[in-house]
């Protein structure tokens, strides 16, 4: 590998031009199909993916189930628009506000366009829920039941507006959902064709809202909005944070090496590495996801690390040789091994993320890993090449200056002092380490695993404000769905026919007894049970045409019996089942985790009540299947009969409870799942009914679980690999273990702090351990490699320590400062996960650096005999 560096120093221009050309090709390969997709269909254009659902693989069972159920129940992702008026005593229930809401609804219904593939995208107008699109059912006087649009047109007066409120509050499906619990606000639920158009839809809605005057406040939220907005702001992050990191790193290095033209070289390395990595990512058809958008900001500080080591060493050594070529040769010889190893460990640390079951995290890990290797290659070739291209004269006053009085820089003095402290206070340092580990352990045990995509935005972001405003007033903007399903029916037609024939004979009905023998024959012709009974019914109907009027009634009853027999499978018309569902809903409400639940049982109970003059005591499930069926068919006489199929399948074998949650925290969803498990185990469901979850809020929990366990595996995996590499590098088990000490301590500390300060263990925090492992070990490698190397020149550690806390410690310290500060621009991002990563990565790297410079020398001091046994023997 020194060969490569030597080749580069011989042909510096070739290497610089080649890497420039390579970057240019990468840029072209991405730019061409992105700008002219039709001209370059064979190339991959840049594709943005903000869908957290994609945190799960496309064939992940929970996700497959989620999407299948959405289709079965015709459910779509929703944008939720809340309208609040804090000045009017009746809130938005006044003539003017409702007129605006009406206008907005009409506008929303028409949001529709053709996408590039010619597919219609936009709002699903038939399923839009707003005061003007839903039905009111109420008694319309004695013996009269009334169906009408809740708000057919804008109200003509404030009194009319209030009567709309009253009607809506009386309907359980609307109260808390369309009208707020305090009766002052309105919410519109706008289903959209797909999540990734929500930003578009929201922008259009905002345009319309801007036309309204008055003092209504409009809040727009919902998980799809949060997710899509995130994607848009992701670019802001990339556009702000990455260049800022670049500038910061440049300034820092300029400060360290005092020579702007020289520090341009690591910048080139960083640029070329970032462009190549991102280029490869896109060219290979990978999407730019929340995770992969962070790649540039990760590559950049890492890419300059090795360059800093080279420059640092070069800076310190140049005054000795006063010759670029000789100095660089010397530097490369000394650094090539540790640089290769630190690069490999970093690459392994990131590559370990490929072991997680989360596709975007895998992509992130693999490409950062590739980027790290590329950065290494560019560093060992371009940095020497660049130095050689600079005129020798420009180095005239270059290098570490130390005058006769021994006056040195602040950093040098601090490090010298630190070196002495680690020697004399080794035991004290170790005591402190043990105390800190104890504290960290307490913290780690307090860690709460939780995430919520809406909280990826800063608390003052409009989405967070809307989220709070709406969840304070309404039953909840986070949707989860609880699916209940009857057991699969056996398809043994013969057995069914026999059982039915027996049942028919047992009915004490002449027509049924007559027809019973037919079943065995019909069973040969029928494909399924339904067809079998239908064939029987057809036969009976034919016979009926010839029977006398006296017999007709008994035949008619027999026919009814057969029809009902066929419908026995429709378990969600069974009053017992519906009552069970009502109990489950009451239980859900009591958990405090559910703002409101909406189900088939509510539909039946409401219609039943309104059929019985709206009496509160009639709010119940009627006693027979036929009575349930009648309420359901009555409901279907409305403007929106299709709403029923959001709650139940037309075969009545599967039902869907729509739960509105006020919190989208995974912690709360997980608690709810547990509570529901408890309910089903304590109250066995009738008819062998089973249940399962779907909905975005639930999906988030699933991928979080995968993330947590996956990250633990990835971390353990990479820890072991890096440990083996260390043992191999140092050819010693003890030295290998030593190398792992600072990072182990650091990660323990960081997670301890996370637990102690009550920060949720969320997606970015989960990735941190693996992220930092490969980076944090670098310091230890440099420190230990250089220490061992230098120990050969000295008789004891005391003297060696003096030397180690010279140039090697300076290089490490410079690195700590550069990466520690290099990740800081993430704090400027408007999105919380980036901030979290920025803060903690900086903290980890700084802490790991400090741990390296304190714990390691202290350990060497304490175990000097053990560690340098061979050296002693040799002497």
């Amino acid at each position: 590998m020194i060969h490569i560096s030597e080749t580069a120093t011989r042909r510096p221009k070739v290497f610089l031009w080649a890497s420039g050309l390579f970057s240019l090709i990468m840029i072209m390969l991405v730019a061409l199909p992105s700008i002219w997709p039709t001209t370059f269909p064979m190339l991959h254009a840049i594709q943005i993916d903000t869908d957290p659902e994609n945190m799960l693989a496309a064939d992940e069972p929970a996700r497959v189930f989620h999407n299948a159920q959405k289709k079965v129940f015709s459910l779509y992702d929703m944008v939720v628009v809340g309208v609040v008026n804090e000045e009017n005593p009746h809130g938005v229930f006044n003539k003017k506000s409702l007129a605006n809401i009406y206008a907005l609804t009409e506008f929303a219904k028409k949001i529709e366009w053709q996408d590039k593939q010619g597919k219609t995208q936009g709002v699903i107008s038939v399923d839009l829920m707003a005061p003007s699109t839903v039905d009111n059912i109420e008694p319309g006087g004695p013996g009269v039941v009334k169906f009408e649009w809740l708000m057919n047109r804008p109200p003509a007066s404030d009194a009319e507006a209030l009567s709309i409120l009253k009607k809506a509050q009386n309907l359980p499906l609307l109260n808390g959902t369309i009208v707020s619990e305090d009766g002052k606000a309105v919410a519109l639920y706008i289903p959209i064709t797909s999540k990734n158009i929500s930003y578009n839809v929201v922008e259009k809605l905002k345009g319309k809202i801007a036309e309204f005057d008055g003092n209504d406040k409009y809040y727009i939220t919902g998980l799809p909005v949060a997710q899509d907005t995130f994607g848009v702001e992701m670019f802001v992050q990339m556009a702000i944070s990455a260049p800022m990191a670049m500038i910061l790193i440049f300034l820092l290095m300029w400060y360290f090496f005092k020579k702007a033209s020289l520090v341009v070289s690591p910048m080139i390395v960083a640029m070329v590495s970032v462009i190549s990595t991102m280029g490869l990512l896109i060219v290979t058809g990978n999407t730019v996801h929340i995770m992969s958008s962070m790649i540039p900001i990760f590559i950049m500080p890492i890419a300059v690390l090795d360059a800093i080591h080279i420059l640092s060493d070069f800076y310190d050594k140049y005054p000795r040789y006063k010759d670029r070529c000789k100095t660089i040769q010397h530097v490369m010889k000394e650094l090539s091994a540790p640089m290769l190893y630190t690069t490999l460990t970093t690459a392994v640390g990131f590559a370990s993320l490929a072991l997680t079951p989360i596709p975007p995290v895998q992509t992130f890990g693999i490409f950062v890993s590739i980027g790290v290797l590329l950065a290494w290659f560019f560093t060992i070739t371009l940095v020497p090449a660049y130095i050689l291209l600079m005129p020798e004269e420009s180095f005239a006053n270059f290098g570490m200056v130390k005058d006769d009085k021994g006056q040195t820089t602040l950093l040098t003095r601090i490090l010298h002092g630190l070196g002495r402290v680690t020697y004399s206070g080794a035991k004290l340092i170790m005591l402190a380490v043990f105390i800190l580990i104890g504290v960290a352990w307490v913290g780690v045990n307090k860690i709460v695993i939780n995430d919520n995509p809406v909280k990826w935005f800063a608390p003052d972001h409009e989405i967070r404000i809307a989220d709070r405003a709406l969840n304070e007033r309404f039953a909840g903007t986070y949707m989860a769905y609880l699916m209940l399903e009857g057991p699969a029916e056996s398809d043994d037609l013969g057995a069914y026919a026999k059982a039915m024939a027996d049942d028919m004979r047992a009915q004490n009905s002449a027509p049924l007894t007559t027809m019973a023998p037919e079943l065995a024959i019909l069973a040969q012709q029928a494909k399924d049970k339904k067809q079998l009974v239908n064939l029987l019914i057809k036969k009976m109907e034919q016979r009926m045409e010839t029977v006398s009027d006296e017999e007709w009634d008994s035949w008619d009853n027999a026919l009814t019996w057969a029809g009902e027999y066929m419908n026995r499978g429709e378990i969600f018309k069974d009053p017992e089942v519906l009552n069970y569902m009502s109990r489950l809903q009451a239980y859900l409400q009591d958990t405090g985790l559910v703002g409101k639940s909406n189900s088939l049982s509510d539909v039946v109970r409401t219609v039943h009540r309104e059929l019985f003059m709206g009496k509160p005591e009639a709010y119940r499930i009627p006693d027979s299947r036929a009575a349930v069926a009648e309420t359901l068919i009555t409901y279907q006489n409305s403007h929106r009969p299709q709403d029923l199929w959001h709650f139940v399948t037309p075969d009545y074998r599967k039902t869907n409870m729509w739960l509105q949650l006020k919190s989208g925290d995974n912690r709360d969803m997980s608690a709810l799942i547990e509570k529901v498990d408890q309910f089903f185990s304590e109250n066995p469901a009738p008819d062998g009914i089973s249940y399962d979850w779907f909905g975005l809020t639930y999906i988030n929990v699933i991928w979080q679980d995968k993330m947590v366990s996956g990250m633990a595996e990835a971390f353990i995996g990479s820890f072991i690999i890096v440990l083996i590499m260390m043992v191999f590098l140092f050819r010693s088990l003890w030295w290998g273990i030593m190398a792992m000490v600072p990072l182990t301590f650091t990660i323990g500390m960081i997670y301890g702090i996370i637990g102690l300060i009550g920060k949720d263990y969320d997606m970015p925090v989960a990735v941190l351990s693996s992220l930092s492992l490969g980076l944090a070990v670098d310091y230890a490698i440099h420190f230990l490699a250089r220490s061992r190397e230098m120990r050969k020149k000295f008789t004891n550690w005391k003297d060696t320590s003096e030397a180690v806390f010279g140039e090697p410690a300076r290089a490490i310290a410079r690195n700590i400062i550069v990466v520690g500060i290099g990740f800081m621009p993430l704090l400027a991002a408007p999105l919380v996960p980036y901030k979290t990563v920025g803060v903690f990565i900086s903290a980890i790297l700084v802490l790991a650096g400090i741990a390296t410079l304190t714990i390691l020398p202290a350990l060497i001091r304490l175990f000097e005999g053990l560690l340098f046994k061979k050296n002693i023997e040799r002497m």
């Binding site: 007709w552 009814t560 009902e564 009648e630 006489n637």
Partner: protein, 261 residues
């Protein structure tokens, strides 16, 4: 009996009458008569299949009895008795069509033991969950819209109708294709304000029954939900001699078996 009837295919070209100026209201009146008022009364067995966008099918089966008050194509009564699905068997829906005010509609729910009058507020709601509206079943008053003849070809009068009270309906206009020789509307399309199709009705089959051209299969498609409903008529009979008194509240609970067999 039905099989012996001569099947009247659509578009019998040789029937085409020579084009001459015709008053649009004449066409509308005739079409209204042919759709809802042929003979003094009638009965049919209707099989209704409601198919949603996912292809899932639900079946309803009912007997429909109809009796006109007189020959003026105005007052009229309907009695709809449900046979299927079995769990709503014996349910009855009854309409008394009024010219001066909204229709009176009644619903008898046997298992709940309830007779309910349905308030006349809105007749453009679903008929028992199908894509047909109540108004499609009982007929929309011809004076509720302004009609214009927009086109006339060899077979059809194409009439555009615009509601006089746009607030009361979900559509902005509709177009009907009225067959020139039978005056049966063969197709009707409902549009929203942007001119997009909301629903469309098609007569799929026309049979001659007792000398009356009768639609025996029809469909209504909802372009917004993607669902559609097919109606098949069998055992169609005209001039049955239905007495007026069976179209009363009393007969809701006690179905007139004689006419329903």
């Amino acid at each position: 009996m039905k099989h012996m009837l001569k099947l009247f295919l659509l578009l019998p070209l040789f029937w085409a009458v020579p084009a001459h100026a015709i008053d649009v209201m004449d066409v509308v009146k005739k079409a209204n008569h042919m759709s809802y008022y042929q003979a003094n009364d009638g009965r049919a067995k209707v099989n209704m299949r409601i198919i949603d966008a996912q292809g899932r099918t639900r079946v309803r089966e009912f007997i429909i009895l109809r009796r006109d008050d007189d020959d003026t194509d105005t007052g009229q009564r309907f009695y709809v008795y449900f046979n299927k699905p079995a769990d709503v068997k014996k349910m009855v829906f009854m309409v008394i069509k009024n010219m001066d005010r909204g229709d009176d509609r009644w619903l008898y729910l046997p298992a709940l033991d309830l007779v309910k009058r349905i308030a006349a507020s809105d007749e453009r709601t679903s008929f028992v969950g199908s894509n047909f509206y109540y108004e499609d079943v009982s007929g929309r008053g011809i004076n509720e819209d302004t009609h214009t003849l927009v086109k006339e070809d060899d077979n059809y009068y194409i009439i555009k109708s615009i509601p006089k009270d746009p607030q009361a309906v979900e559509f902005a206009s509709y177009k009907s294709w009225i067959h020139k020789s039978t005056f049966l509307p063969i197709k009707t399309e409902y549009y929203d304000a942007a001119g997009e199709k909301l629903r469309s009705y098609s007569a799929l089959k026309v049979d001659m029954v007792d000398g009356y051209p009768t639609v025996t299969a029809s469909s209504m498609e909802d372009h917004k939900t993607g669902g559609k409903t097919l109606m098949n008529y069998s055992a169609v009979k005209y001039n049955v001699g239905l007495p007026e008194n069976i179209f009363t509240e009393r007969y809701l609970r006690k179905a007139p078996r004689k006419y329903l067999r």
